[in-house]
Subunit: 388 residues, 2 copies
């Protein structure tokens, strides 16, 4: 898969044993393949109008690139395409609007991930599942998150109520009540993950730093309480799940506005901004657990993955803010539970391809919201070896 | 499927028996479902910029519309979704460029048909195959034509060399040498089918007529020999197969230019224009047979389908122009061979869905052009009835 930052293609080669939901999922090899420079430029070139011609060309070019990334990963892992049963490719999201966009008299929900599966199947010779999100949209869901079923299979416990927390640009969580079933899961985006911190780090270093390594800058700053309160007053944090958000809501605009208006929160210096944003991120996650998870379960453990799990200062602050509400809670990294922080999402989509083949519904189903189970994805067969 | 005119959705319900390539394909029911007015307006609104948001919304809205059309057709045929094994949906082409479009330093080939399969599968409860063209593009083909395999199965003969000729907006043919195999087929677009005639009919009646019914107007006109020669001098007619063309090449621009310049071909009146365009269409098909089919086989029969097969004057002229070159050739309508002229393409895509399930390569493979066999389409499963 490739995330919203469009940095590269995360490839994971996994072995899946057992039967659902007691699968054993073992990571064999993971790597991140960069996009060719010209293709990344085309992908992030938000100025260019993307009509049908350009979008289709991107769709096929990204598919080719994903296919080559899969070939390279197999070669590095010492495997041949014939050793691989199926490829699951999330692709690159270029549009996602579960709430719908206006079309004539209607609001039409939709989602679009590019990276055409026929290109991947043809280059690798391995059958390929893509378009995982649209079936959930078709049954009235948000098309996201899709990772909860993977969290359920890899992290559920009969003895502990756990929260799988992934801190990417946006942070999301899956609450897994002890001994619960998939329909007992509570899953939503808590709000900002690394996005505010990364943007602020780039802003205050004039672009030299792409992120605040280990939270070192934030650790030496002072939190501005009034700015913190203002950020935490964002209406998203009060919305009830299911809910999802994006960089549009918690991205550049927000951070740049705060920085332009910094005279208001004097003396807000660079490190103070980072300290405040780090505290806001940690506190927003703790608030989400208290407000929207606690009604369903009393959490024992938080298992953090994603880039944010490597920000030691953010993890410390999150631990403290959670401990305020849940004295016995522990916060640990995914690695302690056999989860590779960086490869988690790629592993999840490999597993979703397996669930597709097994015809097992993998979307998050909530009786309350009237959502229906759906087998996710569409399958492109491997190219025929013989003509008819 | 829906063709380039975007008039409506051609639905065919077929029963497929036997084993490939000796399948028996029986048409149970066929109908054309109109698009809702607002959706057709959105589809033909070529002025509107179709960015990712609009294209995705159209993709889902067209998918919903195709799903409803399938439901209606099943109900009218007295069948339930559980009676139907699979839906094959060509969708609505919005972009097709096997020759590639510029993207960064590359020319990237691609094709895009909208009508998301997950919407069709969810509305009908029937698993659905879509995106038939991209796998052929992925192996280096043109993504078209895809109907030849259907022609092969339904019309090949051990005793006669046949040409399956479909006269839609563009005319295409599949040459089936007697006793030949699929790799012996020769398939290409001959050039204009009804497109020049329909545009001219609308032009000279001020939009009152959408086509020249039975060629009645053309029959009373006089052919302008110099204009005829000029049209037949179009370089497309000399290009060697495989080749395909579209309304861009033989559409409004050409007809309107001729009509604006009609003073040159005096006295070219309305009926004379139609007579000349009808003659050009008939002659271009006969030329194509002589130039590009004769080297492979001596044709015994032409089997015509598509709207053009109902234009009795066009069929007469085609018969004469062919008889000039092949004295013993016969020209008949599809119905004489059990082929429904109007439902043929829809039947073909139902059959292509069957070939997908059977994992049989269905693209046109030419050893000469180095094209490789490909299983066409991607499969969206039916929605799960039970959660995991």
């Amino acid at each position: 898969m490739s995330g919203t930052s469009r940095d590269g293609i995360d490839v994971a080669l996994v072995e899946i044993g057992g039967t659902f939901p007691s699968n054993l999922i073992r990571l064999i090899h993971a790597e991140t393949a960069p996009f060719p420079r010209w293709l990344r430029a085309e992908l992030i070139g938000d100025g260019a109008p993307a009509g049908p011609a350009r979008l289709t060309a991107l769709d096929f070019a990204v598919g080719e690139c994903f296919g080559r990334a899969a070939m390279r990963a197999m070669a590095r892992a010492g495997l041949a395409p014939a050793d691989v049963d199926v490829i699951g490719s999330h692709g690159q999201t270029v549009f996602h609007a579960p709430g719908g966009v206006r079309l004539g008299p209607r609001a039409v929900a939709g989602t679009l991930q590019i990276g055409r599966g026929s290109m991947i199947a043809r280059l690798t010779g391995v059958e390929t599942v893509t378009d995982f999100r649209s079936a959930d949209i078709a049954v009235g869901g948000e098309g996201a998150p899709l990772v909860p079923i993977y969290d359920y299979v890899t992290l559920r416990s009969p003895a502990k109520s756990r929260i799988a927390l992934n801190i990417g640009g946006i942070a999301n969580l899956t609450a897994l009540p002890r001994g619960g079933s998939p329909t007992d899961m509570v899953c939503f985006d808590t709000g900002p993950g690394n996005c505010l911190l990364d943007i602020a780090a780039a802003l205050i270093t004039g672009g030299r730093a792409r992120y605040d390594r280990n939270g070192a800058l934030a650790r030496r700053g002072e939190v501005d309480r009034s700015l913190l309160a203002r950020i935490l007053g964002h209406p998203y944090f009060r919305r009830r799940p299911p809910k999802s958000t994006g960089w549009e809501e918690f991205g550049e605009t927000l951070v740049h506005r705060i920085w332009r208006e910094r005279a208001r929160w004097r003396p807000l210096e660079a490190r103070g901004l980072l300290a405040t944003l780090t505290e806001a991120t940690a506190e927003s996650i703790a608030m989400a657990v208290a407000d929207f998870v606690r009604p369903h379960m009393s959490p024992d453990q938080v298992i953090a993955t994603g880039g944010g799990a490597r920000n030691t200062f953010l993890m410390e602050r999150l631990g403290l803010r959670l401990a305020d509400r849940f004295p016995a809670i522990t916060v640990e990294k995914g690695e302690a539970f056999g989860i590779d922080s960086d490869a988690k999402e790629a592993c999840a989509f490999a597993y979703l391809a397996y669930l597709h083949l097994a015809r097992i519904a993998a979307n998050v189903v909530s009786q309350a919201a009237g959502l229906r189970p759906a087998v996710l994805g569409c399958l492109y067969p491997a190219p025929a070896r013989l003509s008819c």
